[in-house]
Structure formats: C-alpha cells, structure tokens
Amino acid sequence: MKGAFAVDSAFIELDRVEKVFDVHRKTGFMRRELRRVRAVDSISFTVARGEMVGYIGPNGAGKSTTIKMLTGILTPSGGRLRVAGIDPSRERTRLAHRIGVVFGQRTTLWWDLPLLDSYRLMHRMYRIPDARYRENLDRLVELLELGDLLDVPVRQLSLGQRMRGDIVAALLHDPEVLYLDEPTIGLDVVSKGKVREFLRELNAEHGTTVLLTTHDLQDIEQLCSRVMVIDHGRLMYDGPLTGLHEVGDSERILVVDLERELPPIEAPAPARVVKVDGPRQWLAFPAAASAAPLVARIAAEYPLVDLSVREPDIEAVIAKMLHSLGDTTDPPSERATA
C-alpha cells in the first residue's frame, strides 16, 4: 500500500524498459526468417502526478508498444516499469481501477445501445459507489455537452460525439492517469476544440495525469507542457515543445495575400519567400520566432489584404529534429509495427 502513495514525483516510472519482438517473416514457400525487433529499446522516463505529456513519434516508432506496456496489455522484455506503484503486467486488473484508456479509433461503447447503458456497465464493472458515479456522470456529461445524447444509441452519434462519449466512459471511475491514443483523430475543428478544452480543465481542476499520443501538433501546443519524442524505440527528446522547435530548426509558413501581383517580398533574414502564386506569397520563418515583427514589416511596406500563419506539420518537425540529432535512418522495413 505504501508504494502507491510514495510516488507523486514519479507517478509513472520507466527504467530502461525494453520490448523485443520475434518477428517471423515469410521469405519463400514454407521458409520463414526469424528476426528480433526492438520495438522499445531501453527507455527511461518519469512522469509526475498531474503532468500532461505528449508522446509523439513516426508510425511504428514504439508509441503504442509503450502505451500497451503502461496499461498492462503487454509484458516488458526487460527493465522496470511502475504506474501508481503498480507493476502493470503483473497486476493488470488492479491497475485497471486506477487508469483510464481512450483508444482513438476503437470505441468501447455499446454500438446498438443508448450511451447511458454503456456508462451503467462501467458503473457496475468498476464498482463505482452510487453517489460518486452520479456526481461524475453529471459533471462529465455537462462538461462534454452530452446531456441530450444519453438516450441516443451510439451508432447514431457523430464521430466527435462518440469520442467525447468514450472519454466520459474512461473517466467515470476517477482514474488517476488517463492515456489517450490519438484523441482528436478525424474530428472537426469544433469537436477538437471541445476535447482539448475539456482535457485542459480535467488536468487543471482534477490533477489527472494525462499521457497522449497524437499526430496533431496543435494538440501538443495547446495541452502539453512537456513532449517526448520516440523513434526506433528510443527516446530522442524529452522537454518543452518550444525546445523541440529549436532542436529541429522547424519553420512556420506565413501566407500573405497582396492587393496585386508583385515580385517576391524582400523579407528580413532568416525569413524568405518560398513560393509565389499571383498576388499570394508564402514566407518561411523559424517556428520558435514570433510572427509579429515580420507581419508588421510587410504590412508597412506592402499593400496587404489578408494573411494567415501555418503551423509546421508534426511529422516534419520530428523529421527535422531527428535529422539534426544525427539519427541514422533505417529503411522503413526495419521498423517494428505493433
């Protein structure tokens, strides 16, 4: 029991955790080749109670494998792993009471039944005390604006509504950690906003520790003070998002619409025009720098009609970062898929 409370600063703790898969590959008729793939290669990090961390990396980098070990689905091949003082793979069901999991593309809700029926099952399966269940349900349903939808069969919900429904289902039992795997994938802008706002509030008000994987850089920018980048099973970066931009020299794009077609804008270095199409011009500038001076300068010297800033694509940021860290890129076939 003591262990469960002595770990606030290292609520999630990984010490040289490894996951090695034996992969059989067909190399011909009845011939198979055995290869060892290190999906997770000696990863160590700790997450304090109440932190909100983004866990990102290319497909097949080992993100899901890590999440699966943290939830007790997979057994690590080596190293030490603790969540709330519990060894996930040894005490999977005990841990289940303490964590919430949302798989972005796999709903846990009952397709043909009203949303409320799924929640009643959670109520009983997790043995949530009645008063607490009602309190949590009321609060979550209000925050995620699902009040009118509780009696609607899940199959009739939109993707965004279903995602919010899944988040409620994962939080009814007051988990201390919430894992989210691509929580905003496929959602429209409004739904994304709602989900992000809710997660921010959950983390701030309730102190719930949140670990999320995503392909959407805005998820990270708006939610996470800390980012971990994993590639080839190794932890490549652990720190604030701004630092990630610095390491990666990534660039944002300023799109300006001028009154008429003009020669490329003479922008102050390091900003530069990368494309011109009629009156519209694209300027690249460092992602870590503010856009304001650049915009002011252009507005002062050119007939500006409209402008917008495009954030760098998360894959591009990571790719640049990995490149600048001197990563030796293996061919994609060498990557573990799990």
Partner: protein
C-alpha cells in the same frame, strides 16, 4: 479545491485496491453476467431480427434431424441402433453442444479481435479477459439449437426402450452438464490456439461442429481408430457415446467397462483444467508478442 479533490481521490484509490482483491472466479462470473445482459439488450434493439434468426437457427438444425428421419424411412437400423436410440444419442449431443455454444460459442471470434486490435480494449478493464471474451457477442439466437436438441431428446425419451434404474436417471443431467462442459473446454482451447494462429477458426470448427455431428451417430458406424481418438485423445466420447450406450443397455464403445459411463464429470473437469492452462499460455504469448 484541487487539493481536496486529490485527497478524496486517494481514499477512493484505497477502496479500489480493496475492491480489486476479490476472487478471479467471482469477478469473472460477475463480468460474464453483466456483459451477456448488455448483449441481450443489444439484440432486443432489433426484436424482429432476433426472432427471425432464432427461428432460422431452429429450422436449420431441425432440418438436420429430418435427414436422419429420411434415412430411417429406408432402413430399420443404423450400426445396430434403432431410430429412437439414435435420437437419444442425437438429442444428448445436440443439447450439450447447444448449451456450450450458447455459453461460450463466441470465443471462436477471438482471432478476429486479435487481428483488429480490439482485444486490447478488453484488457484494460478490471475483469478477467476469458470471461469478457466468452460473453462477447452473446447470442440468445443460439437457443434455437438448444431447443432442437431438447425436442429430439424428448422424442427419444418418449419412444426409446430403457430399463431405468436410479443410476441411469441420475446420469441424465450429469451427462448433459459434463457434455456441455467438455464442449466449452474445446471452445476455450480452440480460442487459445487462435492467439498463436489467428486464422485457425476453421480448425476449431472441425472439432466443435464436427465433433457434435460425429456424436449424433452411433460409435459402431466409425473406424476403431477414430473412436479411440475421440475417447482417449480428445475425449468427446464422454459427452454421450460412453454414458449413453450404458443407459441404452448397448455395449460400450471399445469394450469399455460399465463404470466408465460414470466418468464424464471427471473427464469434463480435466478438460476444463487443461483448457484453462491453454488459455493462460495463449494470453501470456499474446502479451509477450503483441499482435
């Protein structure tokens, strides 16, 4: 505010830890009951479709017995067994299999859940995976098969000639329960194999659906090697052949002694234990290799 929430969270965490300490069997049965109830409600969302598939299930299995009836319009006995005697074997096999199919039949879908990754959603819940998987897609429509089995067994009991003793009367329910348990074990063992070979559902069908069809006919029709196989290797013979021949007063298969007719509960217990071990091994391999 956040601080009090945290403290309350801790008390609740202690409660949760205490709550999580109940026995796995109790937890499993509890989860099974809750999930099957959800599937029944789910099915009832399409009531007409439910009634039609149940009826269809009944008709399909009923036609199967009609084939036996047609055969007996041309012959008087088959392998030394009369029509009521065969109906007795048939009804026992069909009812025992039907009960097992109703209880855990959806386990054959395990391979699909491993392939599409949805097994993971079951593994983050505080209940044994075996119970959740057994209850998955629970289909009351399978009552159609049980109904057919019970009707055929009823017909057999009304027409067959048996010298009833107390031992034989007692053996009837024991036989059905043990038989259902043996088939359940085959379902679970087959599902465990799908952890390793995800497209092995067809292999499993050969033993489950194939097994029940085999048992519907008298053992005297089959080659000795086959009968030996289903007695000593995969002991399906203890579902009905061994105990039922004793009840009917026919010679036991393979010249087994009369007391062998009372072995089904022991055989069923052994099968379930082995299936449980196979399941644990399968799940462990999934957890170490992933999908």
């Amino acid at each position: 505010m956040a601080e009090t929430g945290r403290v309350a969270g801790r008390d609740w965490a202690v409660e949760k830890d205490l709550g999580a300490r109940s026995s796995r069997v109790v937890d499993g049965l509890r989860a099974y009951r809750m999930i099957t109830a959800m599937w029944i409600r789910s099915t009832m969302a399409y009531r007409a479709s439910f009634l039609m598939t149940t009826f269809g299930n009944f008709v399909a299995t009923a036609l199967d017995f009609v084939a036996v009836l047609l055969m007996f319009s041309r012959v008087d006995e088959l392998g030394g067994y009369t029509l009521p005697q065969i109906a007795f074997l048939y009804g026992l096999s069909s009812t025992a299999f039907g009960l097992a199919d109703l209880a855990v039949g959806s386990m054959e879908k395990l391979g699909r859940r491993v392939r599409d990754g949805t097994l993971d959603t079951l593994m983050v819940r505080p209940a044994p995976v075996l119970a959740q998987m057994a209850a998955d897609q629970f289909g009351l429509r399978r009552l159609g098969r049980v109904t057919q089995g019970v009707l055929v067994l009823g017909y057999a009991l009304a027409t067959v000639d048996i010298d009833w003793t107390w031992a034989k009367v007692l053996l009837m329910p024991v036989m059905l329960v043990s038989g259902a348990a043996i088939f359940c074990a085959v379902f679970v063992a087959g599902a465990s194999f799908q952890f390793v070979a995800q497209d092995a559902a067809e292999v499993q069908n050969a033993f489950t659906y194939g097994g029940t069809t085999l048992l519907q006919y008298p053992p005297t029709l089959f080659a000795t090697e086959l009968v030996r196989g289903v007695t000593f290797v995969l002991p399906l013979a203890f579902v009905n052949w061994v105990p039922a021949t004793y009840v009917l007063g026919m010679p036991l298969p393979l010249g087994l002694p009369g007391w062998a007719a009372f072995l089904p509960p022991l055989v069923a217990a052994a099968c379930c234990a082995l299936a449980g071990l196979a399941w644990r091994a399968g799940l462990r391999s999934y957890r170490s290799t992933g999908s």
